[in-house]
């Protein structure tokens, strides 16, 4: 069925209002069921044994003593998850990450697992498993991994994306390149060129809910899995492939999700839980501890970025060139590639080149974290823009406006932009009272811009008209931040009925066709598109039914304000039929009424934001506090503005944590030293100010309501905005994130020393 997804420019009745969310009461009463809240009769407790070594060959694993412990019902190793991936490298990496085979590649890598009658027994059993390791040299640092003599993780890793194929194996797994124009010629035209190296440390999504699942496989090969995830269809696909199950026979039911931010787009312990259940022939519940979440789920990349930008005296960028090295853990990822694509996306550049290098290190496998890879690249680019503006004596805001990409600009990563929001967010920043508010002692103000793509992808929804005329909407994308409210608003809008007449639920994998996961800010964008189409399909049927009830041609029936209306001189004396009346008559007019839709949601609108930030720095300790923060972002159309604000605020808060304190700290031994919320410091309530938001609405031409994804972009600018604020307060350029107190104090002292030497 072809669907017209073009923007209609219609007036909205429901969309843009702020009703209460449907899952609110369950979540404030403790009734909502999250991953660890699911229990099955007879379930066992699963636990995973993890490598204490950053890099080791696994010579042998003796599980006999653990198996002999009373109460232990299954012990598994990689032998119980045999390689069925048939040369599919990506799937093999997922398998190897779920359960190490020949080598443990990081501190926390799973090597065996048990299922026992209770937690105590399971813990005892883990202690009885003897793993014979041959400890190997390791490397955890992204730059050290490509230095001469660095231990090479995989002997068969020859950098892909390079012609001819390198002769020596290395930790550079992949090279990507983007850009256009002639960079050298561009630099030749520049009056000022600045070149710098920036570093950012590895961070974690820090969702408060650890990964949790309950798995049950029957001897007949059918299975059930309950878990917290951002993509249950993807989980089903991966688990079925890894365990050799028919996809249709594994039913995956998503629970409420206690935060994901990209970290729950992947399988970690779920295939292990299924394998344990298969071996024990009992349901198995497996919940990660916080320590395991940090050590063995998927943090973001640590990065090292070389960047060079040239500008004319008048502030026009003539060329930009960047090489971005992103750690991806022990397996190939696409993280540097995304960094390379997003780096210069805010600007209209004639000459631009970016090179991304995926670097393998002995750290957990990198996974998506909200606008993955973009914040680090933006830290580099946006810091440089400020510095260049300072060098030529131009207001950095005006320099950004001068160079901002607009409709028709060829983006640095290839496509030509349609209508976009970078210019408008900058104009809004210029007018914003925050920009001109006075600053206090030891305070500085910074700004930065951010870009993120937004994804579309495979999506389907079912919309059922129930016998009383109320509506159930079943969607296949996970609700991570209020999507059920937004999608119910969209269904209500399209059907012309009140919001509270629609109940939106997330269906399990057996109730809908395949859906891509909730990532790339696609949940509301793509499921709203499918919801609109489902509603339109339902309306077609509703009109047919009304025509049958009236016994008039369907062409003479229109749908308006939640009712079927007869039109034309002959019929317009007929009283409109309400949804409830048509639903009540359904048994006699053809049976249940529903609309469904399956589509690939093309045309996701790109997303831009501008942030303004004030910091106060204690010059004697380097302690930095964000004292005022403003987010300005284009939403296309804010379906539920309150939850759009929530996305803006949440992303900014994560970015602030990243900018100031959050980092993975590895010891010389390659072990993670801060695998807990005490020493991995996400912002607490008293660390932050109120976060002001301004929603701009520049409609996405490829969505009927103009909707763009809004979830991710807000994490992109904060690193640079804070770096620029510190720089504006004290004249020091911070090039290493997090800008922790010791790093800031050191920079201040060095600047003071330099100043005194000059004097």
């Amino acid at each position: 069925m072809s669907a017209d997804t073009r923007y209609t420019g219609q007036e909205f009745k429901s969309v843009g209002t702020r009703p209460l969310r449907p899952d609110g009461i369950d979540k404030v009463t403790g009734r909502a069921r999250f991953g660890a809240d699911i229990n099955l009769p007879g379930q066992l407790v699963g636990r995973i044994l993890r490598s204490p070594h950053a890099h080791a060959a696994i010579r042998s694993i003796d599980t006999s003593k653990a198996e002999a412990l009373p109460g232990v019902k299954a012990v598994i190793t990689s032998a119980d998850l045999p390689d069925l991936t048939d040369g599919n490298r990506e799937m093999f990496d997922i398998l190897d990450n779920c359960m190490a085979r020949t080598h443990a590649y990081y501190d926390g890598h799973a090597v065996a697992a048990v299922a026992a009658v209770d937690a105590h027994t399971a813990r005892q059993a883990l202690k009885l498993i003897k793993v014979d390791y041959e400890v190997l040299p390791h490397v955890t640092d992204v730059d050290a991994a490509i230095a001469k003599g660095a231990p090479v993780l995989h002997k068969d890793c020859f950098t892909r994306g390079v012609e001819p194929k390198p002769r020596k194996a290395s930790n550079i797994a992949y090279r990507s390149e983007f850009g256009h124009g002639d960079v050298d010629a561009g630099f030749a035209k520049a009056d000022v060129i600045i070149e710098r190296t920036f570093r950012t440390e590895q961070t974690h999504q820090g969702y408060i809910e650890p990964h949790a699942c309950v798995a049950s496989i029957s001897p007949d090969g059918t299975g059930e899995l309950w878990l917290c995830t951002q993509g249950h269809f993807v989980v089903r696909q991966h688990c079925a492939e890894l365990l050799g199950l028919d996809v249709s026979k594994l039913r995956v039911t998503p629970t409420e999700i206690g935060g994901g931010f990209g970290g729950k787009t992947h399988v970690w312990a779920e295939p292990v839980a299924l394998a344990l259940s298969r071996k024990a022939n009992r349901p198995v519940k497996l919940v990660m501890s916080r320590d395991e979440v940090f050590r063995a789920s998927g943090p973001t990349s640590a990065t090292s970025i070389d960047i060079r930008i040239g500008v004319t005296k008048k502030g026009r960028i003539t060329a930009g060139d960047a090489t971005l090295r992103y750690s991806s853990g022990p397996y190939l990822g696409m993280w540097a590639e995304l960094g390379a694509m997003t780096s210069f996306a805010c600007y209209d550049m004639k000459n631009v080149r970016t090179v991304g290098l995926e670097i393998l290190v002995n750290r957990p496998k990198t996974t998506a974290y909200r606008a993955p890879s973009a914040p680090m690249a933006a830290f580099a680019v946006e810091s440089m823009i400020d510095e260049l503006a300072g060098r030529i004596g131009m207001d950095p805001l005006e320099m950004r406006i001068l160079n901002a990409a607009k409709k028709g600009t060829r983006s640095s990563y290839g496509p030509v932009y349609g209508p976009i929001g970078i210019g408008p967010t900058l104009e809004a920043a210029r007018e914003h009272p925050h920009m001109s508010a006075p600053l206090g002692k030891n305070q500085g103000r910074g700004m930065a811009c951010g870009f993120w793509f937004n994804f579309g992808g495979q999506t389907c929804t079912d919309l059922n008209i129930t016998p009383d005329g109320s509506v159930t909407l079943t969607v296949g994308t996970i609700d991570v931040g209020g999507a059920r409210a937004s999608l119910a608003l969209v269904a209500a809008e399209e059907l012309g009925i009140p919001y509270d007449q629609v109940r939106a639920v997330v269906g399990d994998t057996s109730s809908l066709g395949y859906n891509d996961m909730t990532d790339g800010s696609r949940g509301t964008f793509s499921s709203s598109m499918a919801t609109i189409m489902s509603a339109r399909n339902a309306i077609t049927i509703l009109r047919q039914r009304a025509a049958r009830m009236w016994d008039i041609p369907v062409a003479k029936v229109i749908w308006e304000a939640g009712c079927a209306k007869a039109v034309g001189k002959k019929y317009d004396n007929l009283a409109p039929l309400t949804l409830a009346e048509i639903a009540a008559a359904a048994p006699k007019t053809g049976g249940p009424i529903a609309g469904h839709n399956e589509l690939v949601a093309d045309g996701a609108g790109v997303s831009f934001a501008t942030h303004i930030c004030d910091v106060e720095v204690d010059p004697e300790t380097g302690r930095t506090q964000v004292v005022r923060y403003t987010v300005i972002q284009d939403a296309g159309k804010a379906v539920h503005p309150t939850y759009v604000e929530g996305q803006y605020q949440g992303g900014a808060a994560q970015g602030i944590g990243w900018a100031l304190n959050e980092e993975y700290i590895y010891g010389e031994d390659g072990r993670l030293q801060n695998a807990g919320f005490l020493d991995y410091r996400i912002p607490v309530c008293s660390d932050l100010p109120m976060i002001d938001t301004q929603i701009l609405e520049i409609p996405n031409p490829n969505h009927p309501y103009g909707i763009r994804g809004v979830g991710e972009t807000s994490i992109v600018p904060p690193l640079a905005a804070i770096g620029n604020a510190v720089s504006n307060a004290f004249g020091v350029r911070m090039t290493h994130v997090p800008m922790s107190a010791p790093r800031i104090l050191k920079a201040l002292e060095e600047a003071a020393r330099d100043a005194s030497e000059v004097a």
Binding site: D291, E620, T621, S686, D687, L745
Partner: protein, 287 residues
């Protein structure tokens, strides 16, 4: 694991002295239960002292104030007489963890766990507090500075437990202050900390001073050189500078995940100066 919750101190001492194996005392549990769950300790017995009524009291004694071993830091924070006499000790206790932690944690536990970064220890050392210890041979008093013997180690002998922390009597124009550096505003562990306890005369001359630092050595340390710099002086710029220098000079920190040698050394001096200023103001000193 045995769980015992005796009603009296003699019962507790008898259980501690008479039980073989690893016995751990449970007060607030904010350290012990974390370590049990992490598998770092596997007690044979946990002895919960919270059913001993006397241990919940903050009371005036002949020689000052006594804080029972089961008094939570949160309770200290709402005790007016204690706050008035020892604002620095109370602020050090109240900086430990969140409100949730405050509802459980105790300064006695903080002292006995003997973390180099413990918040209350420098303040208690500066206050010249003593721990009242009960054991099979009766009671004894020990300077709080002598109780921690190294990271995670204390001077308690088999069968002994701390019953209370004893604070000395307070002279007029005396006050204390405690400051720490943490990356976050709350929910954090001191990277470096400083406590200063001062008495001044009517002219503002310092007549008694104790200065202690945390997280700059295996145990919290006193800084006699800083005390000497304060004694007999007003808190002028030169005195403050001398205090800062003496404190930085006294540091023997390590590089770890929470801070560097360089940073701790430098900021110890900054915090000591600021703590001295705060104590000075509270004691009635004029800026």
């Amino acid at each position: 694991m045995r769980y015992e919750a005796p009603q009296t101190t003699p019962e507790a001492v008898a259980l501690l002295a008479g039980t073989k194996g690893k016995v751990h005392i449970l007060a607030g549990g904010t350290d012990l239960i974390v370590r049990m769950k992490g598998g770092f300790v596997e007690p044979d017995m946990v002895l919960d002292i919270k059913r001993i009524k006397a241990m919940h009291l903050i009371r005036k004694t002949k020689s000052g104030l006594s804080i029972g071993a089961a008094v939570t830091c949160g309770e200290m924070g709402v005790h007016k007489a204690l706050k008035k006499a020892w604002p620095g000790v109370v602020e050090s206790a109240n900086l430990i963890g969140s409100d949730q932690i405050q509802g459980r944690c105790t300064i006695t536990g903080n002292l006995c766990n003997a973390s180099p970064a413990a918040d209350s220890i420098p303040a208690l050392i500066a206050a010249d507090a003593r721990a009242l210890i009960a054991g099979p041979k009766g009671e004894r008093l020990l300077d709080v500075g002598s109780l921690p013997t190294g990271p995670g180690k204390n001077a308690l002998k088999k069968g002994e437990l701390v019953v209370s922390i004893e604070l000395p009597p307070r002279d007029a124009r005396s006050a204390d202050a405690y400051l720490r550096f943490t990356p976050r505003t709350e929910m954090d562990i001191a990277v470096v900390s400083a406590a200063v306890n001062l008495t001044i005369d009517r002219q503002g001359v310092i007549t008694a001073a104790r200065v202690a630092l945390g997280a700059v050595a295996p145990t919290a340390i006193r800084v006699p050189a800083a005390e000497k710099a304060l004694l007999g002086n007003k808190l002028d710029a030169a005195t403050l500078a001398a205090v800062g220098e003496a404190c930085s000079a006294a540091c023997k920190p390590i590089d770890d995940k929470r801070g560097t040698v360089e940073y701790r050394t430098r900021v110890a001096g900054v915090l000591a100066k600021r703590a001295a200023q705060a104590a000075w103001m509270r004691a009635g000193g004029k800026p």
